[in-house]
Homo-oligomer: 398 residues x 4
């Protein structure tokens, strides 16, 4: 497998009917294969999730439904981001759907990053098996207080040279995908500034302390807490150039938050659909629930929210395809979409009452899965301040 | 002037750079000609508004900036609705800008309607001078309680045949454009159902009682209260077919609310721009206002709102151009956009403090202009109930 | 008339049945005398308002319904603030009710202030006729940008000594009550810091430029823009001590914003009552409006809001009666109540549709009157920042 | 132990300093004994919760801190409801605090109910050991669709007489406290209407199918799903009178939702206190988090919410003490408090970022515990419709 040319030269849009047909196939796959495999008694069982993901991935592969975002020559579907938005939404309807199609976080943005930044030897060793779904990866940037969270300047993990090697020392947590990962992308501060490294998790200096008991269910590889203690890596562990880590992080996050929007829309849409089905069947106060205006208003607001989410996500994807900077627009979309999807899931829970408060249906779990999206990849407050500052500095028209 | 073919066969999109150039010209015209003519001491002075609108219209005509939505052969710019969205927004930035360009309510949707429904003789007598800006028109559907408001079944104005003539009797209010209009489109109930009539306002049976003291400033022709008393019109006053009035109303409203979105976006954007300019200059608590996070968040949320409003408006316009039904999407857009624009104007007022509470700047007036948009053309609550019912009936995916 | 002892030693609560009876009398007076005199075509006519206020005040005086907040020996009702809350609410139901009872801003807080701070000669000259309703007063603190708004440090009006006199120079606006006032309390910066002065409006150095076209209707004395140009006042114009002006302002504002809450609750309650009356009579979609769940929810939320507003206002009044500091609680109440009352008025407008968008009923005017309450006496954003800082500094329990 | 006289004759308020001292003792107990015993790895472990509750209860008993709401002669503290509000809040700060003090749901409202309704023999057999904390109880009203949820008319569990016995058949779920309960209060439909029965959980006709995987952690006795199959109980199992079950339910719910408010306030206050402590220590973007205005605004809004919640809860408790009906006010308080507390917990989570998304701190768990409060005891939507209808029917003042 040859690793592909820079993904920023995106392919053209599929003809609408082809895209519709593809989405219908993905939807059928998710409905028939993924959703029935969801097991709400194993929401934090990373091993079980790995097993079922492998199984689903094989099925998806057999149907040609793998890696919508990757070039055809890299084994993917070769879709542009605007088309990916539709397909990611479809597979995002199931907690385990994106993993099945090879487009779940953190592997998907890690792949995207490595395709752009990794040296050929890094690509051969780590990217190729990652693309093939043979291994999983982690992304280790966030640190517990007083380390780096939303403010990149707080980065405290150190990288110092020792001969040709680097020695990494630091404390990471909320390391996405850490449990069971073959390698991690680690962000550390070297003399040049923030720098990115590939760390083999078998390295004795990489110590996974625990899986953090976070509230989001079915997270591939969970969120790890990791100590990097005298973690020696060779010179070829450096990704790209030393000191460019913040630029890389910015670029990765701009995309990653957009892809989260795509997947999250599917999950929230599923929640409100379940609530709709319930409301048309459930009697209450002499009528179907669906005949009560407050229910009608809740479902109307949810569809309006989803409508806006889809348009905004598609617009940012279009800009990414066109090679425009999405720093500002992806930040705006992230704030809007993450909050809108939480509103949708909350309404679905409210509409279904007791059912929305337990795990007999996935609504409560969807709400828990979507809640951290208002925090991960930059809390809404951080984005609002950044967006506002940018507007004030830039001046001019609204 | 030949009256044009049905507008639903819309022209193609302009090339982006042509559209950008056109918008820049409209913006310059609005900034240089319209905004300086706004007089906040005459917000309810319909005659003054007519005078200044005629003056501006002549200037716009001279610059080739008239009637973006009309076919070229009808003297307009021949733009599709999607392009109109951009141009309407630009002229909507001024209270008196849409009138200047010949695309203000109620004339603009009246023209749109008459192009589709009116007989050649009606078009010659009423549509041609209306398109030329020589006369103004009114739209008389709403009635005071217990008549028709949001619920079309409450229509109480009657139309009965008397020989070849029709006799109209009823009580209308919030008759848009009534003060100074040459004719009105009147919705009345005949034996066949709701029917539409053209009424010459010189008809002795048409009695304009008063201009209603509504809160929205700079309304072309104001909002009239009208008694129709033994109002005799000839057979050729009937528009289209008797009994089809509700279908016509539905079609008119679907478009009209979309066009309101287009114009309103411009007005709200202007409000937040004024607030931004103020915030970067005003000192408070040891810093510029713009350095305070709450200001940053307010401006961020406003840009996010405007971003969503524009995408949704453009999407519905695209569907209208494509000949799709926009009943559902224009209803969703109307709810979202009308509420979002009110939020934007409210934040602009809050950001500017005392200035936002008076008429030295137009922010308070913009808020008053946008407030009724949550009521006119169907209150948000009516739309939410209708949207919700439709979703429950249709079932299926969100 | 003897000017009373410090108002902070408040009288005891009335027995509940006496308070109820008093409120019923005030309510009847407002319903029968004040509301019928409201003329919505004269919302910014300060002279008309003075005339009708004088007329109403004489009627109130005749019924013993004057100055609930003043000591009995000063001609008032001698109520504690907690009881005043109820009475202020009752008279606040009419735009012109508080003026009728001699408890409208800015005279009422000016009287309160002067009772505490003014020298006997000042009290004799200015306070006595003010209490008697023979004159009106203004409060001149706010300045146009870059002067003082929310941040007291921006105060730019200067006071310098010239022999025994003071010379005041500066630019004020949103000077409450300025049009027709006999005197103004002016806040200016002297060498000692902020200082308060009584300025006779006949002073040639006091120049009323204009009544600011603010959006709030029926404002006693309007909001003036004033130039102080070489405005010479004698030594006895100083109120209290030079340099203590910020403390005085803080104290005045703490009370003033509480009294605004009391009056505003009455006005918002009136709006929702009008909406309720409309909803039970208006037919729509096969039922009374009041049978639609969205209407029920709007009225429920409004009553919940009013319930919370009344409890919070009463609690702060209780603390003020008890001699506790109300800096923190009155600030919290001001934010909550001003925003809640705006929600109530907005729902009332939404429930009444076209009626809520015009001046046939007072709902739209009530919304315009309440809007500036989110700005005047400190914008919500300024209060939120101050409240938050105080909590963080104080630490400990929530 | 003698079972007490009707609790509605409530004792007088404690002198404020005594109440403060009592609250301080409860707070110390909660901080020192309860909170350290919270184990976030056992959030759904009912047996562990029973063990730790027994242990804590013994400690509370030893300190005289048991059953604030029960009469002194029944072994309680003999507080009126208004004072209980303060004490319940203090113990509500810990997930396991109310259980420790013998005032957790569903036992506390069950005790309250049985004190009023149960026959002496029922009181001797079931109430006495329940008050003593020797057994736990369940409340079985809710049924899965299409049974009873918010609408009492949907009750489908049947009770038919068989000689002197009753035979109960039906399907219940969200039966609070079911796991490990000694008995349940079961609501079923007999010929007379809704009726209440005491069912010994050792009855072979009582079949606990499962503990429902609901999202709220640390629920005493969890939420059970139960089949009643040919469940024979003797005549003395009937509580009160047959056919009065809806009145009883109404009365129980009116109180129960108020007591939930009391306890919930404590939990939400704890969440925001943790967030405050974090914000004053955490550096971000060149300052402490607490110096950022958005954080200040979030903490300000949370304190404002808590202020309103406490006032409203105290006011309804005061009415309950006074023997007034609290149907309307407790319903308003329930809507406001349940939603306000969810806002507070959500802000606390947002302020603490990653920490608020996991179980290292209890914030995420507090949010999950409070979420169902918007559903249990009547969803907000049901209350809003009921409140609104009542207001429209009653008419008159707001």
């Amino acid at each position: 497998m040859t690793v592909a040319a820079p993904a920023r030269t995106r392919p053209a849009l599929l003809p609408p009917h082809e895209l519709d047909a593809l989405c219908a196939r993905v939807r059928a796959f998710i409905d028939e294969q993924a959703i029935p495999r969801e097991d709400y008694s194993r929401i934090h069982d990373v091993e079980w999730l790995d097993t079922v993901t492998r199984e689903l991935r094989a099925l998806a592969q057999a149907q040609g439904l793998i890696a919508p975002q990757l070039p055809i020559e890299a084994g993917g579907m070769g879709l542009c981001w605007q088309d990916c938005a539709r397909v990611f939404e479809e597979c995002g309807r199931s907690f385990i759907g994106a993993g099945a199609l090879g487009c779940a976080a953190p592997d998907q943005p890690n792949i995207d990053t490595l395709m752009h930044l990794a040296a050929p030897s890094q690509q051969a060793q780590w990217l190729a098996p990652l693309m093939a779904g043979e291994i999983r990866s982690a992304f280790a940037m966030t640190e517990p207080s007083p380390g780096v969270g939303s403010d990149p300047r707080m980065l405290s993990t150190r990288a110092r040279r020792d001969g040709d090697d680097w020695i990494l020392d630091g404390h990471k947590w909320f390391t996405s995908g850490a449990v069971g990962a073959a390698f991690a992308i680690v962000v550390a501060r070297s003399d040049e500034g923030a720098s990115w490294f590939i760390v083999d998790t078998r390295n004795p200096g990489w110590k996974l302390i625990r899986a953090i008991p976070s509230i989001d269910p079915f997270s591939n590889g969970g969120h790890g807490e990791v100590m990097l203690e005298n973690c020696r890596v060779s010179a070829d562990a450096l990704i790209g150039e030393a000191g460019k880590g913040f630029d890389y992080a910015q670029l990765r996050l701009e995309g990653a938050r957009l892809f989260h929007c795509m997947r999250g829309i599917g999950l929230a849409a599923r929640a409100i659909e379940i609530a709709q089905d319930y409301a048309v069947r459930r009697d209450s106060f002499g009528a179907k629930l669906s005949e009560h205006q407050q229910m009608q208003a809740m479902v109307a607001d949810s569809h309006i929210d989803l409508y806006a989410c889809r348009l905004m996500t598609a617009d940012v994807a279009r800009r990414l395809d066109a090679g425009e900077s999405i720093r500002h627009t992806s930040s705006m979309a992230k704030v809007f979409v993450s909050e809108a999807l939480n509103r949708v899931a909350d309404r679905a829970a409210q509409m279904t009452g007791a059912i929305g408060m337990c795990q007999d249906q996935p609504i409560a779990l969807i709400a828990q899965r979507l809640r951290p999206f208002r925090i991960y990849d930059g809390a809404s407050e951080v984005h609002r301040a950044a967006i506002g500052k940018r507007i004030f500095q830039r001046g001019g028209r609204a």
